[in-house]
């Protein structure tokens, strides 16, 4: 008779949690929009144009920049954006 084979779990043993997206703002009127440059070359060109377009609609824009595109944004930066902006646009270019 063979005993059941027991194996040790090689994973982090974490479960994925799905959370609902944050509700989108009903209106952008008077809102501040964050523009996050992830620090890839020429991302600023794209964001400059977006800033023009948003400003033309009378929206306030704040610019942010990740220190390094290949690393996740520091928590402080994410908190700062969340605290100051109603929405954020993250741009990737090359």
């Amino acid at each position: 008779m063979s005993q059941a084979l027991r194996l040790l779990d090689p994973t982090a043993e974490t479960a994925t949690e799905t959370r609902p997206r944050r509700e989108r703002p009903k209106t952008l009127e008077g809102a501040t929009i964050g523009l996050l440059d992830i620090n890839k070359p020429r991302g600023n060109e794209f964001l400059d144009r977006l800033e023009e377009l948003l400003a033309a609609r009378g929206l306030r824009v704040e610019r942010f920049r990740k220190p390094r595109f290949s690393a996740v944004a520091p928590t402080e930066l994410k908190q700062e954006i969340a605290g100051r902006c109603a929405a954020v646009i993250e741009a990737l270019a090359d």
């Binding site: 084979l5 027991r6 040790l8 779990d9 090689p10 982090a12 070359p41 290949s70 996740v72």
Partner: protein, 463 residues
């Protein structure tokens, strides 16, 4: 652990001639001193022997208050007489006979018994393979593999793996991206079992994981990038030779267990602990075969060039792991050149083409010089540094050939501004190492990512 019975306890096994020789004495000791006999051929005797840490049979233990207070092993008349206080013990026996190895130390037994008798404790959960299921197929179904079969991580195998390090199983090596889940020594050991490592490879695996977590390596970016790179592992120092790593013929290829399984273990930790999987957070357009495993040792057998680790300031006695984000191997074939200057031309042409002849950003290379090419430099008295200088001198890229330069978009430093050209490896991301077979006029390039923010990392191995 079960308590040992107080008094004298003899541990023996059936197939040991010395145990057979002293069997009549044990009967006398039982009668006169109340000695107990534990045979390793019985489950209870084996368990007692395991818990008492018996290495040789016969072993005579003296136990008081459940704790061992003394032992003799093998047969030595004077020792046994002194130990038992019986001055005429074994008068008709030879004065001395060595014992035999304990059954607890037979191959595979320490791990088996540690699990059976509860000495092996794990924090990770146990998963039962359903009865009748094929364990290799079941591991695939759990998503634990890189596409190749894995060694099922039984408690015995993981326990044996953990004997490869002095570090505690619950020590945290760091948080593995992308999920930033904690990786303990135990989790690393489980994945090292999956990868096919031997316990003596574990210190290298642990250090490779720690090196990958250094911020300047940028593991998160490396696994998430559209680029083809993955961690390339190079081992320096005595441990590479001790565990039989290959630095010579086919060093960058298949066939050496240590090379193959150490690199694979690191990748499996990223997959299983960190959650970095292709098609999910791993966005590589191509990837490369080295993402299964890419690990080799530097050939340090000729002292005329200092090793990479020595260049980085590590002493020769140190063993180190170097990681860099690399992808494919580009061979450089030059059977003809006999002068360093000519080899430099061959190398430079190949190096210039890496990623794109006009790419000067985010490109790095390890130039791996094999035996016959190395001899050309040795005989001409060229140091590694001189070779690097000569290559750097030939690796200027005219600005109108630089990809970003053509559109006037190359971000240039103050020193570079006004220059009509840019260096191919702008951030010093060209390194030279030795490996490969002795015969054949070849070298090899390992291309990869390199920038001001992304650099190779080197970490000393702790056992």
């Amino acid at each position: 652990m079960r308590e040992l019975p107080d008094g004298l306890v003899a541990v023996v096994k059936r197939e040991c001639p010395t145990c057979a020789l002293i069997a009549p004495l044990l009967e006398r000791l039982a009668g006169e001193c109340g000695a107990a006999v534990a045979s390793e051929d019985d489950e209870s005797g084996l368990e007692l022997s395991f818990h008492a840490g018996v290495e040789i049979v016969p072993t005579l233990l003296r136990v008081a208050g459940g704790r061992e207070v003394g032992r003799v092993f093998g047969w030595n008349r004077d020792e046994w007489r002194a130990f038992t206080g019986l001055a005429d013990l074994g008068a008709d026996l030879p004065a001395n006979r060595p014992g035999c190895g304990s059954r607890t130390l037979e191959p595979g037994m320490p791990a088996k018994l540690a699990v059976r008798y509860g000495a092996a404790k794990f924090a990770s959960r146990l998963r039962d393979v359903p009865p009748g299921a094929d364990e290799a197929e079941w591991c695939f179904e759990q998503g634990w593999t890189d596409g190749l079969p894995v060694v099922p991580p039984t408690e015995e195998r993981v326990y044996a793996m953990l004997q490869g390090t002095r570090r505690r199983a619950d020590e945290v090596l760091g948080a593995i991206p992308p999920n930033f889940a904690e990786c303990t020594v135990e989790k690393a050991a489980i994945n090292a079992v999956l990868a096919g490592c031997k316990p003596e490879y574990l210190p290298v695996v642990l250090t490779a994981i720690e090196a990958a977590l250094l911020p300047q390596f940028g593991l998160h970016g490396i696994l998430a990038t559209t680029n083809a790179v993955g961690p390339v592992v190079m081992v320096n120092g005595p441990i590479a030779r001790a565990i039989g790593m290959n630095a010579r013929g086919n060093a960058l290829g298949q066939g050496n267990r240590a090379n193959a399984s150490i690199g694979r273990a690191l990748q499996l930790v990223v997959r299983n602990v960190g959650g970095g999987r292709p098609g999910e957070i791993d966005r590589a357009v191509f990837g490369n075969p080295g993402k299964y495993t890419f690990c080799f040792a530097e050939d340090e057998s000729d002292p005329r060039w200092e090793s990479y680790a020595a260049e980085r300031g590590f002493p020769p006695r140190a063993s180190t792991v170097t990681l860099f984000p690399g992808d494919g191997v580009t061979p450089v074939i030059d059977h003809v050149s006999r002068r360093p200057e000519d080899l430099v031309k061959s190398y430079a042409g190949c190096l210039r083409a890496l990623y794109n002849p006009g790419q000067v950003n985010d490109v790095a290379a390890f130039l791996v010089v094999a035996g016959e090419h190395a001899n050309v430099f040795y005989e001409a008295g060229w140091s590694k540094a001189r070779l690097k200088e000569a290559l750097t001198e030939r690796l200027w890229v005219p600005l109108d050939e630089v990809v970003e330069g053509r559109s006037g978009k190359l971000q240039m430093s103050a020193e570079e501004l006004g220059q009509p050209r840019a260096p191919k490896f702008r951030t010093g991301s060209l390194n030279i190492v030795r490996a490969g077979g002795a015969a054949g006029k070849y070298s090899a390039l390992i291309s990869g990512l390199g920038s001001r923010g992304i650099n190779p990392v080197t970490k000393e191995i702790r056992e």
